[in-house]
């Protein structure tokens, strides 16, 4: 890991072809960039890029999809992440896109570049369970997560003290079936006025509207307290207990319109046995949830996740 070195992170998805790595690495060398990390992946099972799976907002510098090129590439999809040391690199946020355009166009790339010196702004939504939000705030305070945290929103007031003890503002936005629309409008106001980059649902027990989800596509991270796709939906530990499984799990994923069916970022599991009550599963599961959610957030913050066809490529 490059540690405290300032870097640009270039993420690329395009139809597979010969010469992509040479073109990218050559471009960077030409502009005196030092490559600190380079990862790439070819998935021959994925056909042409799907327009619908990309979040416009997340791909600020992307070129239009080169349809003929994609159609001519039966061999699958290519993914790449390059981390470039800023020191010595002669391109900046202002000049990168113009210089890069020719390479991107040649290979029909969807791409984005993240400038590591710009700190992402992370909003956290909670309900009553404190373990995930406390864990995230602890990591943030102790330097594990390099983000800004403008506020935490809770639909209940239970976690007000826990959040404030970290010096973070807590907004209470209660919600009922009747007030759902107004509450979300208020939430969107907060997201906009605080210039939020991504949202973490730290055991937030409400479903977000389709329009909010698509607006923050691939920028809302949820933790589900089961090993998905097993035990989707409510009360997964009860479901696990009733089924008599010998292992429980937790899953972090990007939120999509399909409940608990978004692209999976990270998962972990833990052995249990017949002596474990539902309460034991809840207690043991908390340790899984915290770690799996923190891991997903870290990967997102470090721009290590690419999404395609509802699956993630995680370059860690």
């Amino acid at each position: 890991m490059p540690g405290d070195v300032q870097t640009a992170r270039l993420l690329i998805t395009c139809p597979d072809a010969r010469g992509i790595i040479a073109a990218v690495a050559g471009f960077i060398a030409e502009h005196h960039g030092n490559i600190l990390e380079a990862d790439q992946h070819s998935d021959p099972t994925q056909g042409p890029l799907q327009g619908g799976c990309w979040a416009p907002g997340a791909w600020t510098g992307r070129t239009p999809l080169n349809v003929p090129s994609a159609a001519a590439s039966p061999q699958g999809t290519f993914f790449m992440r390059v981390e470039i040391e800023l020191d010595g690199f002669d391109l900046t946020r202002d000049t990168f896109a113009t210089a890069w355009e020719a390479v991107a166009r040649r290979f029909g790339m969807r791409w984005n570049v993240y400038w590591g010196n710009e700190v992402k702004r992370m909003a956290i939504l909670v309900s009553k369970e404190s373990h995930c939000v406390s864990d995230l705030l602890w990591r943030w305070r102790n330097g594990e997560l390099r983000v800004d945290v403008p506020w935490v929103v809770g639909n209940h007031v239970d976690l007000l003290d826990a959040v404030r003890s970290y010096g973070v503002t807590f907004h209470h936005l209660p919600v009922s079936p009747e007030t759902r629309t107004q509450q979300e409008a208020r939430l969107v106001e907060l997201l906009e006025s605080s210039d939020v980059d991504f949202i973490v649902l730290a055991r937030y027990m409400q479903v977000l509207s389709s329009s909010l989800v698509s607006r923050f596509a691939q920028r809302i991270i949820n933790i589900h307290h089961s090993f998905l796709p097993a035990f989707a939906g409510p009360r997964p530990y009860h479901q696990a207990f009733d089924r008599g499984v010998k292992i429980i799990g937790a899953t972090s994923h990007y939120v999509t319109d399909q409940l608990d069916e978004g692209p999976i970022i990270a998962q972990a599991t833990l052995a249990i046995d017949h002596r474990d009550t539902v309460e034991d599963l809840v207690r043991k599961g908390r340790d899984l949830e915290r770690v799996v959610l923190a891991d997903a957030v870290r990967l997102h913050v470090e721009d290590k996740i690419l999404v395609s066809h509802n699956k993630t490529v995680v370059f860690d």
Copy 2:
């Protein structure tokens, strides 16, 4: 583990009540038995014993269910396993049931006793995949599994050599939709004539009839190549690849009428990532399947599994 000491293993299920352990341990002490292991478990969530979940054949010495007692016990179900050193114990297969009857009746027990000096007879059914059957035969040959193996049945002939190299008879019983009934009749003949105690489906890709399953209730062990209940049914590794999970698993369970829904005995999981193709999942999964199946077979052979309400209590 008691190693090579000969033991009797007494398995008990009954409505929870005070004094059960004292009564059982007192009975054994009275008959000069040395308790090598004693495990017990109370499940307050399980109501009265279900008649339907017990396999008559598996409980050769059981007493009738004491309905009034069960009805008077709202506090759940009690499970116990005691392993008694045969040396010094003054009861035998012939005299145990009579002596034990009063205790069993008092607590409304379903119970069985296994005599560790009697070696169980294990039938193995296979199709084309060799890893599970080879692993079981290796463990048997190397003293890990104390069973007799009268034969292996395959619906394909592919594994004939692999099985014979262990000195075990291979029966080829091909099957088609038209011949299913006759093939199973032939299988039942083999099971009967060989006095088989339990059956292992070592990646046997055929569904057994309801009547065979109920005849060997809690005595047919299957391995499913996923982390159940995720990816039940065919081609679980393909399903896992398509869903983009970050962990795969394997599950051993007793076979019931509901496909892939029997009581789970053992599970294990393994981390994967986006670089793993379906072929990689198949390869990595084989190592999980072998270990999970072998573990379930060992537990069954050592009489360490109790079943109730479609869940297992495993005293290991």
Copy 3:
């Protein structure tokens, strides 16, 4: 787990013999006690009990070691833990020892009984790292750990705010080679005046004196940030990095006079690879340390650990 039911926990160690379980369970039944959990273990490899390995303070009700009986028992050591529901049990803290004496004497037992309605008092010692103490205080505040926490002592002042945010008193007891004796005298004063039952070293980077260790024998829990016995001593993550291991670990253990060599309570491991820097190991290791320490503390609080011959028997 018995949940909120009040219980007495009886821990027994004695030379192995026939009839112990029957005697113990019979005694409890006679006194109208309901056994909620009973675990026992025989270790044939352990010879007669060692006088030196028992902490007098920890075994308040113990009988004198029955030497003839121990000498007559070449078959090893027997361990037992019984959890008895207080409701209905006709013995109390005042009357238990007298009633129990005959059984204990008959089998030459070392024993103790813990009354679950008495809350243990836990002292925490820290230096500069906050992850373990924050985690313990979080669990305590959220009901996972049923203890009282009179104060936290730090030899540095760094964690003052983190501790106080949980409403807990922080004592700063700085230490230098010259002031070691006085600092520990002050610590002992605090331990005594606060009636502390056990001590947790939550990444406390000082060695305690022999006299303090023996006074709290089997009542001081340490977390070491490696998979012991690998990488004992200082800077274990650096040692692990230099050796190029592919897995790191953490170990919680009772403190003895031998640095990092006390009886191990719990361990956990995590896969790493060549991309992980020392800083990555430190970061990933924190998640292991927190869980492993919290697990050890929970087991101690629930009286689930027996120690013999520098090893633990953990009935969980």
Copy 4:
């Protein structure tokens, strides 16, 4: 994974510098090669390359170390592995070195190229334990390991039948303190006459001579049945039992002159508890050993391991 596609695998180690990836990828593109996988790693903690840690035999195509370049690179060591599709690539085993020389010289590279269409020849050495050798031969027979196996050598005769059942020649080379030199001379003869590429010690309980080890530097793979560096030396499961650890492990590593101290390739661990006897550890450990050894062999066969400063970089 490229599956059945024929590839060349280029492994590179050199002082870190700007432009390496561009130069390598540019070279390959220039020769019409398609990069199927490219992994690289920078280790800033490793100083100039050590002459002594490279096996001459293993680096058949290497250029002389460019000392001035290395001296000018304080920033550490760079590792790279590129897998190039042979189809379309205009270089071959005969022409590659000459074409590549300029790039290698410019960056002071130590490098080698493996031609995936050439099958490696694997010798296996055993003593009395069959689980590792049986597992390797099973994987070989079932297509998991793409190698040739000219023979297995045993210093005992116990595994003759197990090996022959796979259709492999078994050579019995007994050894005593007096005959050690002659036995190894006989072994070397076999290695030479069979043109062996690498050696697997599948629980071979003899120490190889320094001269044989240096001759097959980084080409002898051993499995040690502990989590190294814990419990090096003989009887590690007994050591683990005596210490009372809660987790056991297995370690595969390249053999060096220092017993159990060679570069670690793969490790795995497994939770145990106080009920496990030494025999249980041996049994459970076998499953770890098989998987960890098979993994190391697979990585070696697929040319995914680079060694430097007694540590491995594993590009999997």
